[in-house]
């Protein structure tokens, strides 16, 4: 994701040619298109609803299997994509994307989650052969209903050949979803206006699920900011918790989760600059600017999840995590390395089934994140 910042020429690295051509290109694109190049969203707007080609009716259940998974837009883990793994790949082939989606669908069908919270899923992006991955997964798994909220929708991203993009988060479910909303999160506060215009628009995806016999159950999916160097991430988690508090105060039950891009409180290691650096990068040395790699130093934010842990129930209780952190790691940026941090979570205001939680670390090649699943007792 660091390469998104290359949308603009920064520092002193612009050649004369770049100084002339880049503004000219932007001007041309702005002049040509009457419709905006980048979609901006209202504070709250309706999410996009999906139904599988062959949807099934599912009976009421006593427990739900819930899973959250950042699927890296169907790129698998081993493709060295330029934006997140020091690679040089930009546009994947249709076969690469379909193979990755097929592998993901096989695992979904194996674990049989009733509810799946997905982050980084593309619906109409050049980088993933314009495959609508939400529809594809619905059509190739036992999940029947979906809701989608975009975090980055642009007719054309004139950088690195990315082109058209529409990527975001989704909730997939066996039961119909209603009142699906996309709730806008604050934009990064550490970017200039033009970079911010082309950058990601993080959000919370919220939907009500219609399980027979349970009238007031809500699902929330967040993909919080990854690279901000100010308090943007903190604002995201505060906004997320506000939404949970409102539901709890109204007497509703909720299952909330996603990719928080934050470590659990009490993590013994909070600086991953060395683990995440590309071969030509150097950090923590005298004169290194920036001193930390963007998005890799979690030290200032080590307490930002305290409040949500204190108020709600995590599928992996904090004491269990702190007793054996590596067992619950969900992510690594180095595609050859072992999982080295936990940034994916499931929370609820109702109890999780004891011993029902899993961090699927054996899935080493399907994404740069592993899914986290848990079983949840349906309140009556």
């Amino acid at each position: 994701m660091n390469r998104f910042k290359l949308l603009l020429c920064r520092h002193n690295s612009c050649s004369l040619t770049a100084r002339i051509w880049r503004p000219a290109l932007f001007s041309l694109l702005f002049c040509l298109a009457c419709s905006p190049l980048v979609t901006e969203f209202a504070e709250v707007e309706e999410a996009v609803l999906y139904t599988a080609a062959r949807s099934q009716n599912h009976p009421a259940v006593d427990t739900l299997t819930v899973m959250t998974w950042n699927i890296r837009f169907g790129a698998g883990r081993q493709i060295p994509w330029f934006g997140d793994s020091c690679g040089d790949r930009v546009i994947l082939t249709e076969n690469e994307v379909l193979a990755a989606l097929q592998a993901i669908a096989e695992q979904i069908n194996l674990f049989q989650p009733d509810i799946l919270l997905i982050q980084e899923i593309d619906i109409k992006s050049k980088r993933t052969a314009y495959i609508d991955e939400v529809q594809w997964l619905l059509d190739h798994t036992s999940l029947s209903y979906g809701a989608y909220a975009s975090m980055w929708e642009a007719q054309y991203v004139p950088s690195d050949g990315l082109g058209r993009i529409n990527t975001g988060s989704a909730i997939l479910s066996r039961w119909p979803l209603h009142h699906a909303e996309r709730i806008q999160l604050p934009l990064r506060g550490d970017q200039d206006a033009l970079t911010k215009y082309f950058y990601l628009r993080r959000n919370i995806l919220k939907a009500k699920i219609e399980i027979p016999g349970h009238a007031d159950l809500w699902l929330l999916n967040i993909h919080a900011d990854a690279f901000s160097t100010d308090d943007t991430k903190h604002k995201h988690i505060i906004r997320f918790k506000d939404e949970l508090d409102k539901l709890a105060a109204a007497g509703a039950a909720f299952i909330a989760g996603g990719d928080f891009n934050m470590l659990p409180p009490g993590s013994d290691s909070t600086d991953f600059c060395d683990e995440d650096r590309c071969p030509d990068e150097h950090f923590h040395g005298p004169g290194d600017n920036p001193f930390h790699k963007e998005g890799s130093c979690y030290t200032p934010e080590r307490d930002w999840l305290n409040d949500i842990y204190a108020t709600y129930l995590c599928s992996v209780p904090l004491d269990e995590y702190q007793a054996n952190p590596s067992r619950y790691f969900t992510h690594a940026t180095d595609r050859h390395a072992a999982w080295d941090r936990k940034i994916d979570y499931l929370f609820s205001n109702k109890p999780w089934l004891a011993e029902g939680s899993q961090t699927h670390q054996q899935l080493i090649n399907l994404s740069d994140h592993v899914p986290v699943s848990a079983r949840w007792v349906v309140p009556r």
């Binding site: 020429c9 546009i91 050049k126 054309y156 050949g161 082109g163």
Partner: protein, 275 residues
Amino acid sequence: MKTPPPFRLHVAQLTLLAVLIFAADAALLAAGPAKDPWFSSANGSARILTRGRWTAGIFQPLRHGISDRIELSAHPLLFPLLPNFSLKWSHAPSGPWLIASRHIFYDPTPLLRLLRRKGTGGIVSPEFEIPNMGAWTSELLVTRPLGSTHLVTLKAGITLCLFRSSALDSRTTIDLPLVFPRLQPFYQGYSWRSGIEGMGRLYRRWLYLVDGDLFFTPGGDENWALEHKGMLLWDKSGKVQLGAGYKLTWGEYPFGTQWHLLGPLIDLQWGWGGR
């Protein structure tokens, strides 16, 4: 992806043209030819510049009438990045119909290689190689004056990929209006193009220009694109013409069918020399 039947659209275009011609014919045919140097040499028509006349515009090509039957043109601003030239050749008229053929060569290689880059301005991913490529377009232009103040032109042609030094990865497409259909011959080998154009005088120095073009590329998943342009032109004199308008596009892209309204289009043309 649903494809509206392009041939039906084309038939609709031609029907509209026929109605336009025959309805106006009786009222306007008696009048003589226009004397205005801009009107009498409209770029999209079968008319050519008079010998020795030059015209140039910001977005229009540099044109030169080298004889009473041949006109050469090229886009000078684009030339370093998109080498191109065009020859328009006037043939013997058939009754009220003026007939010309236009032959165009263009080489997008330098432009695509410039746009293939990391970072800002990277329209094509740097992971792909851009081969040496060139295309040739030949089209027939048939123009009929409607009285002294209107011209209607029918055009049809084919664009062939003339050479390509190696395969061009299908992921290098630039999925933008205007660009996507014009680069299709390099992926599919050839494409057809047809269209109509109407031009005429509205009042004194004010002229209009409307056109519609259909690009049809057999064999690909994205077959067709329609473009329509409307311009209001003001002849300041025989030497300067100003224009403003819009362009509407509708076509198939790898992500589906979409329309775009592009504009405002602003152009300024100069003309000099000639009889």
